[in-house]
């Protein structure tokens, strides 16, 4: 068996709330292979967001180990973690998090600013990514001139710009209506078919049905890890 993309062993995370210590994660073991489409589920306070932050190198585990592509994250410096986020991970957020006064093209280019990609390649790469998400004709539009679905697709294009190993999506459909949500999920499924590992954080069981594997968190523990035998096909539903 090949090395897993993510190897989580006894990961714990503790937050100080005043004098009290709150354990957001109480020791999680988890392997995620390259090319998987995983949904992380749970109610608020279950630890799923904390898990996502740790997997996304936005935060460091208090105890235990997390290895990403064979690399132990707790041993990395802030700059090295930034580099991992830049090169290996693409983020998609519920509120899109686009820069408001910057064009779609500019927003997609943003991660390249912090990479070693030569500037002469930036425009062509960003255009390619926008065309891949079907926004080739709206490159000069500012976020305010785009619909929610279009904004989320710009965010996905931004996540793809450095050709990451993994895409982390935090409630990507939370701010969208059902129809545009389906379009976004279709895009994720398409990307997964092309080989991208996708980790989807959601509290909606409907949305989790699009993933091939479902992880459920409760009170800081992974209580269920199951293969989804009944994967919804967003592209199919969308055409109906």
């Amino acid at each position: 068996m090949t090395q897993p993309l993510l190897k989580v062993r006894q990961a714990k995370k503790v937050y100080a709330m005043g004098d009290e210590q709150v354990w957001a994660l109480k020791g999680v073991d988890l392997d995620i292979q390259q090319g998987e489409f995983v949904a992380i589920m749970g109610s608020s306070g279950s630890g799923k967001s904390t898990m996502m932050n740790l997997l996304g190198c936005l935060d460091i585990a208090s105890e235990g180990s997390i290895a990403f592509a064979g690399q132990e994250l707790s041993s990395l410096t802030k700059n090295e973690l930034a580099s991992v986020r830049n090169q290996r991970i693409g983020f998609v957020f519920q509120q899109f998090n686009l820069l408001p006064r910057t064009s779609a093209l500019g927003n997609v280019t943003l991660p390249l600013l912090y990479s070693n990609v030569p500037e002469s390649d930036w425009a062509s790469r960003a255009k390619q990514c926008l065309e891949n998400v079907g926004l080739g004709s709206r490159m000069d539009h500012h976020p305010g001139q785009l619909s929610g679905g279009q904004q989320q697709r710009v965010a996905i294009a931004r996540a793809l710009i450095n050709d990451p190993l993994m895409i982390l999506a935090d409630e990507p459909t939370g701010a969208l209506d059902t129809q545009t949500g389906l379009e976004v999920m279709a895009l994720f499924q398409q990307l997964n078919q092309q080989g991208k590992t996708i980790i989807l954080v959601t509290h909606e069981p409907d949305i989790a049905q699009f993933a091939k594997r479902k992880l459920t968190f409760r009170d800081g523990e992974l209580i269920n890890d199951e293969r989804n035998n009944n994967v919804r096909q967003a592209a199919l539903e969308n055409t109906l």
């Binding site: 930034a82 580099s83 500037e119």
Partner: protein, 409 residues
């Protein structure tokens, strides 16, 4: 280049709130403009003083009769100073280039149907040496003319313009108050003196001529002069010359030890230089006050940058999530602050130029001179303020934890 993108990012961010950016810059604008204007005024005053000293003819003393006090009544008695004193000083005091006797008067000068009221001064050729004043045309007085008190005149440029216009004045006869004189020379233009009076509005005659025809001869002091103007060679010890002249005159006037001088020696270049120094000190003080407003402006920048960092916490979080290192965030905000200060400094320079130009145009103040190094220094300093006061907010931004920044409401 990444710096271009960082600059673009900074300008975009500053454009979001134009009014706020402008108000923030105001402190820097006023500070830089004030510093440059003050320094320019100081430089202008200095240049004017230099010009005055130059037009005076270098290292010059004025020797005049002192106030004579009898009982409680004081009067400006000049009886004690005369032409012989001038000759004595010139001969006996080492380092003296020339000592020129001078007798002043005023009156009307008439040529044809034109007349002009002017200064009528009695001198000899040494005066031109002391004043470092050349003839534009004609010749100086001959010794015979001086000894005899001939009715010959050398006129200033202003008088030539007023009476003769385009025609040649040399050899012409003009009426000076109550007698006729022949013009033998015209002086080169000299411009205004330290009090702003036109030095070219003058007619010079041999000192004897003026005494005999206009001021009258004093029975007690037949060779009286208004003052003696003494010039020293460059690099001579002015204090030594002053002491020597004083000693010589006291001896000549037989003033006992401890008795009051009956003359006064003034080192004019020194007086002007002292006045210039006072102006300089005052201007330097004002420039320092102005630079305090630069610091206050810098604190304003810091304040706004802190607000900006807080407002844009989510943006910082996003940038960190997509791979910005702490140093990238630090540079972003630092450059924003430098752009703000640099732009403010630039506008301040433009305003200072406009202000000084207008001042010079309409003759307000002593006139200003803006030196390039002062401009560069102010711009550099405002950039430095940008770095200094922008560093803390930028550091604060760079130290945010990505996850906290991203979730910031």
């Amino acid at each position: 280049m990444k710096i271009v993108i960082l600059l673009k990012t900074a300008i975009t961010a500053l454009k979001v709130n134009v009014l706020r950016s402008c108000l923030t810059m105001l402190g820097i604008i006023i500070g830089v403009a004030a510093v440059i204007i003050m320094v320019a005024m100081g430089a202008g005053a200095q240049q004017k003083v230099d010009e005055q000293i130059k037009s005076l003819g270098g290292n010059v003393f004025f020797v005049t009769g002192a106030f004579r006090q009898s009982g409680g009544a004081r009067s400006a008695s000049v009886v004690k100073i005369n032409e012989d004193d001038a000759n004595l000083i010139e001969k006996q005091v080492p380092g003296v280039e020339a000592a020129a006797p001078y007798l002043s008067s005023a009156g009307q000068v008439i040529y044809g149907n034109l007349n002009w009221s002017t200064e009528i001064d009695g001198i000899d050729n040494r005066y031109f040496v002391v004043r470092d004043w050349d003839l534009a045309s004609g010749r100086e007085f001959t010794s015979a003319e001086i000894n005899r008190g001939s009715k010959v005149a050398i006129i200033g440029e202003r008088l030539r313009v007023e009476l003769f216009g385009a025609s040649d004045p040399i050899g012409q006869t003009i009426r000076v108050t109550n007698f006729n004189a022949t013009i033998i020379g015209v002086l080169a233009a000299k411009g205004q003196d330290s009090r702003g009076e036109d030095q070219d509005d003058v007619i010079f005659l041999p000192i004897k001529t003026v005494r005999n025809k206009i001021t009258g001869v004093s029975s007690t002091n037949p060779k009286s002069v208004r003052f003696i103007q003494v010039s020293a060679y460059d690099g001579e010890d002015m204090d030594y010359i002053e002491d020597e002249m004083s000693r010589l005159l006291r001896q000549r006037m037989r003033i006992p030890v401890g008795g009051d001088d009956m003359f006064r020696i003034r080192n004019v270049s020194e007086m002007i230089a002292t006045r210039a120094e006072t102006i300089q000190v005052f201007n330097t003080l004002l420039a320092w006050v102005a630079s305090v407003s630069l610091v206050v402006g810098g604190i304003g920048i810091m304040n706004i940058m802190l607000v900006s960092v807080t407002e844009r916490t989510r943006e910082i979080g996003l940038r960190m999530a997509v791979g910005a290192k702490p140093s990238d965030i630090l540079y972003q905000f630092l450059i924003e602050s430098i752009v703000l200060c640099g732009l403010g400094g630039f506008i301040g320079v433009v305003i200072a130029y406009g202000f000084v130009f207008m001042g010079n145009q309409y003759g307000i103040g002593a006139g200003g001179i803006i030196e390039t190094q002062v401009v560069l220094l102010s711009l550099g300093f405002s950039g430095l303020i940008g770095v200094f006061f922008g560093y803390y907010p930028a550091l604060k931004a760079s130290r945010l934890a990505p996850i906290d920044a991203l979730r910031y409401e």
